[in-house]
């Protein structure tokens, strides 16, 4: 059995080695046909083509070098466009010359004649970025000049790159898609084989490592956890955390360096949704596999508890069907991508204009999706939490919770239990909820009024900040990257706005609680140690008080690891839920 485990570890390591090596295993060659395919706007296509001419057809053996070349092309193209379309000092002087300190449109038209393409652009840009009222008179020429220069600056900053060049979003997308399309080499020519060499070996190795656990009798097996460098924030844990953090940074911010991973899953994507894979297909695929493989580990580990087995099967099912397969199949059917179990504000983009439009454009199904999403927020969450507690979502359905409970299970003992951590948690998680609400109100305000200015902020900036700092950095990079450093529920505990919302319902209006068993607690601390949410369960158990906490996700592990049968997850009449501590003990002593 031990040999089997070691063999599994070796197989996994080989697969993991291949996985990390694949991004470096390709050559890159840019060709006109790739550019034509990826840049559809003919003017921009032409612009890019001109600046890419010196490197066209050139073979690059390093991904890094190729991306640097692309960056250079984009920079040059943008620089040229800026020079070409900028409203120059000369233009401003001309306007001043003709207008005698009074702003009128005909003067502008006479400077920027629409017959000329560049002038026409300038004319258009000037109109859209100028906020000088028609007929405004200026005291002096200098004042007028200053106002005109302001407009010119705005055009330079916001107009030219957007319309005639490549803005940062376009550059980010194109760097990724051009790199992916320009790639050639073993992975591109045999993605299936590499899929087996990486994912295949990793899965096989992991299963070989996991299944020998069956030789142990069912029961809690936490032996040597705190001696394990992987599970006590030792060198292996730190290394794993670093790898995960880097992976997420690549995924969210530098996907152009991981195109080979995406190429590997192209055949899978073709099979399921009929399209080439995107980086988020790769992520979803990897995510689902992690939940499935580590779910098997979890089930074996806790197979003596039916509660644990059932809820793990549940998260495995919801991830595979609802989060992964159904949305991809919807795409195949030309319907909007939709995860029916994802709920705003965790699904923070639910009310974004492009998603609302997409759903509305799809008629009945789209309207149903909007209705379903709203129903979950307004009725689904409170009703389900009232009857079952927060756990119905956080540890039975949710994808983030699913990953935390499976891939993250080996790290649950690393969560901070101090009172200070609890204080930080409450401030932080409720701030994120508030941020999500304000951001969404802003976004909806823009949707209904078409004005992007809400109060004093730009709603597009607001939602971008939320997306980058909360959606990507907090939920992804920190949320999962910190598993081996701060426990498996960092995101759920400190960051998830949906958990905060559900938690408020659980705290104030629910039948759920963890009850304690009379006077049996011996204060050993297993419950607190293995609480992934960092609840000091023992504090409640040793004084005989129901555990009612907004953060409790009802994973049930405190009850499972208790050596004295003290803790139980129960749903009962609300009456007495907040009752005084009951510690069965000496007569007449009230505590």
């Amino acid at each position: 059995m031990k040999a089997l485990k070691i063999f599994g570890l070796i197989v996994f390591s080989i697969g993991f080695f291949f996985f990390n090596a694949t991004p470096f295993w390709a050559d890159y060659r840019l060709t006109p046909s790739i550019i034509e395919k990826k840049i559809t706007d003919p003017k921009k296509q032409d612009l890019f083509m001109r600046h890419a001419a010196p490197v066209m057809g050139h073979l690059f053996t390093s991904n890094h070098r190729f991306v640097a070349v692309l960056s250079d092309v984009f920079n040059k193209a943008n620089k040229q466009q800026l020079e070409l379309y900028q409203i120059t000092q000369e233009d401003i002087e001309q306007i001043l010359e003709r207008s005698r300190n009074k702003f009128t449109t005909p003067e502008i038209d006479s400077v920027f004649r629409t017959s000329n393409e560049i002038a026409a652009f300038k004319n258009n840009a000037f109109r859209s970025f100028s906020n000088i009222p028609e007929g405004e008179a200026f005291e002096s020429r200098a004042a007028f000049r200053a106002r005109l220069q302001e407009v010119a600056e705005k055009v330079e900053k916001y107009g030219i790159i957007n319309q005639a060049g490549f803005d940062r979003y376009a550059i980010k997308d194109l760097k990724y898609s051009l790199t992916k399309a320009s790639s050639s080499g073993p992975v591109k020519s045999a993605p299936g084989m590499f899929l087996i060499l990486t994912f295949g070996l990793c899965i096989a190795g992991a299963m070989l490592y996991i299944t020998p656990k069956l030789e142990h009798q069912p029961g809690i097996r936490n032996n040597r956890i705190f001696f394990n460098p992987m599970k006590n924030t030792g060198w292996l844990g730190i290394l794993t955390g670093t790898w995960l953090i880097l992976f997420y940074i690549l995924l969210y911010f530098f996907a152009e360096y991981m195109t080979n991973w995406v190429i590997m899953v192209d055949p899978v994507s073709q099979l399921i949704n009929g399209h080439e894979a995107g980086k988020f297909f790769l992520y979803g695929f990897l995510y689902t596999l992690c939940i499935l493989v580590m779910g098997v580990r979890f089930i074996i580990h806790y197979r003596h508890s039916k509660y644990q087995v059932l809820r793990t099967i549940s998260v495995m099912f919801f991830q595979t069907a609802f989060a992964f397969l159904i949305p991809e199949i919807l795409v195949r059917l030309n319907k909007p991508y939709y995860d029916f179990k994802n709920i705003w504000p965790l699904d923070y983009s639910f009310f974004f204009d492009y998603r609302l439009s997409e759903m509305i454009d799809h008629g009945t199904l789209g309207i149903f999706m909007i209705g379903w999403g709203l129903m979950l927020i307004i009725i689904g969450v409170p009703v389900m939490v009232y009857f079952f507690g927060k756990r119905w979502y956080c540890s039975w359905v949710c994808g983030c919770g699913g990953l935390a409970e499976t891939l993250g299970d080996p790290y649950r003992q690393l969560s901070q239990k101090s009172l200070k951590a609890w204080r930080v948690e409450r401030w932080m998680v409720h701030s994120v909820l508030l941020f999500a609400v304000v951001m969404t109100i802003g976004v909806l305000y823009t949707w209904f009024t078409t004005s992007s200015r809400f109060l004093f902020i730009d709603t597009y900036t607001l939602r971008e900040i939320y997306g980058v700092y909360i959606g990507a950095a907090f939920a992804g990079v920190i949320g999962t990257g910190f598993y081996p450093l701060m426990g498996n529920r960092v995101w759920c505990r400190y960051g998830c706005p949906l958990a905060a919302y559900i938690g408020l319902v659980q705290r104030f209006k629910s039948r759920f609680r963890i009850t304690t068993n009379g006077g049996q607690c011996i204060s050993c601390g297993n419950c607190s140690t293995y609480c992934e949410m960092g609840i000091d369960v023992r504090w409640y158990a040793q004084r005989g008080q129901n555990v009612i906490r907004a953060s409790c996700v009802g994973c049930g592990i405190c009850s499972a690891v208790c050596p004295r049968g003290v803790l139980n997850l129960e749903v009962k009449d609300e009456k007495g839920r907040f009752g005084a501590p009951v510690l069965t003990g000496n007569n007449h002593v009230k505590i």
Partner: protein
């Protein structure tokens, strides 16, 4: 405001300190030479097994004591001068008190076996014992445990977690049979054996031998079997720690003698926890009870008395719990290891050998006496109430399902047990 000095920072002493603080503004000082802060003694095994770190065994964070104005003194109390109301410390310091609470705990029994002083031979009770065990068992292959009781099985489980081969000498025909009825004792013996522990029943230690360096090399048993090993765990019970009380005017027998108010023979001095020997009888309870929760309850009670509400120690119906490898054990009321003449019983065991229930009641009156439960969690509240209300065994059978405390979706056995009861009775 008076100065309350507590000797011992285990659960008894600390509970007393916490409750005195809740009830009053008295100055509180807790003296201990074991560890600077309170920890859960019962969790020491989990530190050795790597389930927890020592830090996790502390029920309160280190800032708690200062915030609640409980002064901790990490020193050894050496002498009590009850006439001067002072305690002398090992460091030479003197601490004056108005009230003194003795919560000195227990010590492991060492019944004068030849060789028990050898290196590699030890009991398990204190934090220091844990550290000794850590160094005594580093890199070893084989261990012998003497004693088939709670500490014995704990030590066996600890050693198994380090892949050390364990042999257990059990005086009785089955594990803990001096407490458990033979049926469940046998079931637990089988379970322990299934984890690779070799149990030698009806076997006792004769001597421990060393072949060189004063280090243990093995044991010889009463039946003259020699078992080679690198470590011997002595787990034959504990006795009240009364070292400090010898040659004082505070009366002791096996433990520190107290009345129903936990008062010693000297006014203003109280004793609580493991070190106590009660002089007033309590139904179904022994005079010396070395259990976590009795220590806790005594701490609660003595706090009341010290804060001017003189309160009797009346712990209610007996209960207990333990875990033997994977089998959890709970007990409510009195189930002896052998049936008394006036008693009848029912034993149900699951075919898997990991679950069992044993009920005992009075044959004549039908009154329910107690229950042992293995692998099935029971609600303390219900049994405490039923025992206090002197319910009949029929009532308990009819309401058994209400007392189930197992996690949701667990397999339920009440119907089976009830059927067995009605067929048997």
């Amino acid at each position: 405001m008076k100065h309350v000095v507590i000797i011992g920072n285990g659960v008894a002493g600390i509970t007393a300190a916490r409750h005195i603080r809740k009830l009053s503004d008295h100055k509180i000082t807790v003296i201990s030479s074991e560890t600077p802060h309170f920890f859960s003694r019962t969790a020491l095994m989990y530190v050795y097994m790597g389930h927890l770190t020592f830090e996790h065994t502390k029920p309160y964070e280190d800032w708690f004591w200062e915030k609640n104005r409980i002064d901790l003194v990490f020193d050894h109390a050496q002498k009590i001068h009850s006439e001067k109301k002072e305690v002398t410390m090992a460091s030479g310091k003197m601490i004056a008190y108005d009230n003194l609470i003795l919560a000195t705990g227990s010590r492991s029994n060492f019944p004068a076996w030849p060789g028990q002083e050898l290196k590699g031979v030890q009991g398990l009770y204190s934090y220091q014992d844990l550290q000794t065990m850590e160094s005594n068992t580093r890199g070893i292959k084989k261990a012998v445990i003497v004693g088939g009781g709670l500490i014995g099985v704990e030590m066996a489980e600890m050693l198994c977690s380090r892949n050390i081969e364990v042999t257990m000498l059990v005086r009785e025909p089955a594990f803990w049979n001096n407490v458990l009825p033979i049926q469940e004792a046998k079931m637990i013996s089988l379970h322990i054996a299934s984890h690779g522990v070799q149990l030698k029943h009806e076997e006792e230690l004769k001597e421990i031998f060393s072949e060189r360096d004063g280090k243990v090399n093995g044991v010889r048993t009463k039946n003259d079997e020699s078992i080679y090993c690198d470590f011997v765990g002595l787990a034959v019970g504990v006795h009240p720690n009364v070292e400090l009380l010898k040659n004082t005017d505070i009366a002791i027998n096996q433990g520190i003698l107290v009345n129903e108010f936990l008062e010693t023979t000297i006014p203003g001095i109280y004793a609580i926890g493991d070190c106590v020997e009660r002089q007033h009888p309590l139904h179904g309870r022994k005079n010396i009870e070395q259990v976590w929760y009795t220590a806790r309850m005594m701490g609660e009670v003595v706090a009341q008395t010290i804060c001017d509400v003189r309160t009797r120690y009346e712990p209610g119906p007996w209960f207990n719990s333990a875990k033997f490898f994977d089998i959890e054990f709970q007990n409510y009321g009195n189930v002896g290891n052998s049936l008394q003449d006036e008693e009848a019983d029912l034993y149900w065991e699951h075919p898997g050998g990991r679950k069992a229930v044993h009920l005992v009641w009075n044959k004549g009156t039908g009154q329910f006496d107690g229950i042992n439960s293995f692998g099935i969690r029971l609600r303390h509240e219900n049994f405490d109430r039923w025992l206090r209300e002197k319910r009949s065994v029929d009532f308990v059978m009819d309401h058994l399902h209400e007392a189930n405390f197992d996690p949701e979706f667990s397999e339920r056995h009440e119907a089976e047990i009830r059927n067995l009861f009605y067929t048997a009775v």
